[in-house]
Symmetry: C2
Amino acid sequence: MIERLLLGPGPSNAYPEVLEALSQPVLGHLDPVFLSLLDETSERLRSVFKTSNALTLPISGTGSAGMEACFVNLLEPGDTGIIGVNGVFGERMCEVARRCGAEVLRVEAPWGDPIDPQRLLDTQSANPRARVVAVVHAETSTGVESEIAPLSILQETDTLLIVDTVTGLGGVPVNVDAWGVDACYSGTQKCLGVPPGLSPITLSPRAVERIKNRSIPAQSWYLDLGLIGDYVGAARKYHHTAPTSMIAALHAGLGVLLDEGLEASWARHRSVGSQLQSSLVERGFKLIAQDGYRLPQLTAAWLPEGSDEATLRRALLDGWSIEVGGGLGAFAGKAWRVGLMGHSARPESVERLINAVDALGLNGSLN
Amino acid sequence: MIERLLLGPGPSNAYPEVLEALSQPVLGHLDPVFLSLLDETSERLRSVFKTSNALTLPISGTGSAGMEACFVNLLEPGDTGIIGVNGVFGERMCEVARRCGAEVLRVEAPWGDPIDPQRLLDTQSANPRARVVAVVHAETSTGVESEIAPLSILQETDTLLIVDTVTGLGGVPVNVDAWGVDACYSGTQKCLGVPPGLSPITLSPRAVERIKNRSIPAQSWYLDLGLIGDYVGAARKYHHTAPTSMIAALHAGLGVLLDEGLEASWARHRSVGSQLQSSLVERGFKLIAQDGYRLPQLTAAWLPEGSDEATLRRALLDGWSIEVGGGLGAFAGKAWRVGLMGHSARPESVERLINAVDALGLNGSLN
């Protein structure tokens, strides 16, 4: 058995209660005991997303499946989608939308900067028939948080708002209803402290209406939210076999989070994130995300100059059993991504990592 | 904690080694320890599928995601697909193919009968440009096994063979290479004794070639086997975060199966299936699947006349903690589907069920 301290961009370490839930006997997907656990999971997700949306559930796939579920259900061929792009996951949204046959209007910002919500709104004003505006709340490739609240004004238009908060949910405030988000998806393996494999999503009543009024069925049967809604809703109609053990794990993880309290969890992430970021800066790392828009739970940082990041990262894993992530895109080979998410977001995690960094001689200020 | 004896159409009970694996600390999807576990999982899947296909892996979704992965990667809009339909899962294939923009030619058989392979071959001869022939090996809605081996002759044509063996794999012989199957998918929660959530699939070299030569990308980004192949293959390129804990569970379940031996597992399923089927017939149940084509691991049976199936099924769950499945389609309200799969395929399971059936007074021969 190998035990890692998981400080990469996800997965994070699972809460003990989650591993305990995973070790329990399997339940059937139509067992009344499981169905009430599923209902309770949806209810807990509503609390965590801060929404009263009826259609709130875990998609049977990872965060990218949640992304795809939102796009394939809300877009039809020929629709226009306005998409903010400031990292890998904005790019991914464009690719998924394109595969739905949509025309994509990109609103770009340099990697490391947030998306200016006003630019999304201006693009929507110039293209009022756009079906969706989509933006990543917490960019896992750069550690940047983009502001979502100003986009709530889209509720006054016919354009739906899709938000990716895979890395945000549980770690920083997410306010689906107050922000006017029509479709929001997350992942279990970040700030929820559950292994990867499910994608919590929630859709507003007007998004559900949109799905009902589609002219052709969603191109994905597996991710068809109309059909899935008939299973998680009152009809209990079999669609596919729900991943019951992983849903029990999510149920347990959400229980831990809500017992701690959302505000307390956000404060914990904020505290350890700022501890980490100042420790790294002291050691000659340079933070990639723009000041004022830094996620506490995911820090992307340039290593001190001359550092061999891949070798050092491997040494960290082999010598200290600590996993951090490498940079993506232009940051590959030169940056790390350090996650402090869910159960991993502890002061001890920062201490263990910084001790190892120091032991590795990774201290740019002394170079 | 509720412990069920899972004798429905899936999930089955998980092997103890599988629950043990699920309770282990989470690993990252790029951790070398996890990657070697993933490689070993693919190698074990090759043994179980009886194939040397390089592209053999667990899809990050349930069996239906595996089905969709095969169709969206192999079909393009305007292609023709010939599909055998003798139950729910053949119908589902048609729906998935249709959503890919394909024209579907149905080769039907009554529910409870197998698909005659010659009729599939004749339809292919009349439509030699058909892109795929697709058929369900083990129909979970009826308990029927259809013969796949005669379809190996499709290897001499330009038509690819897709086979659904969600309920077959591990319980009855599956011979991907000898049968000339180009794309084969299964599920973890049936005869593999692993919770639901992953879909093992394997693609032949000519299927991979077909994917490379597509004129447009697959409509699903999440299920794009070209991109996923770059992660499970030597490139190790990040696509989506692999569900590491569930893959560790599958790894463990395949280990149990291969330690027992495929032939021994098939024999065990055959033995308990025939024990169950004769016990049910003695009690006035009528088997739905045609004689000679009955799956041992999944038995669909009409209840003795006048039985209130839903009430009895609920009594079985509440009083004996035994889950069996209800009938689908025309069998709803009148039939049960009883699974003896993976870890659930034990003589004790049959005894517990039959004792309960007798206690419920469910004995048509006495009526």
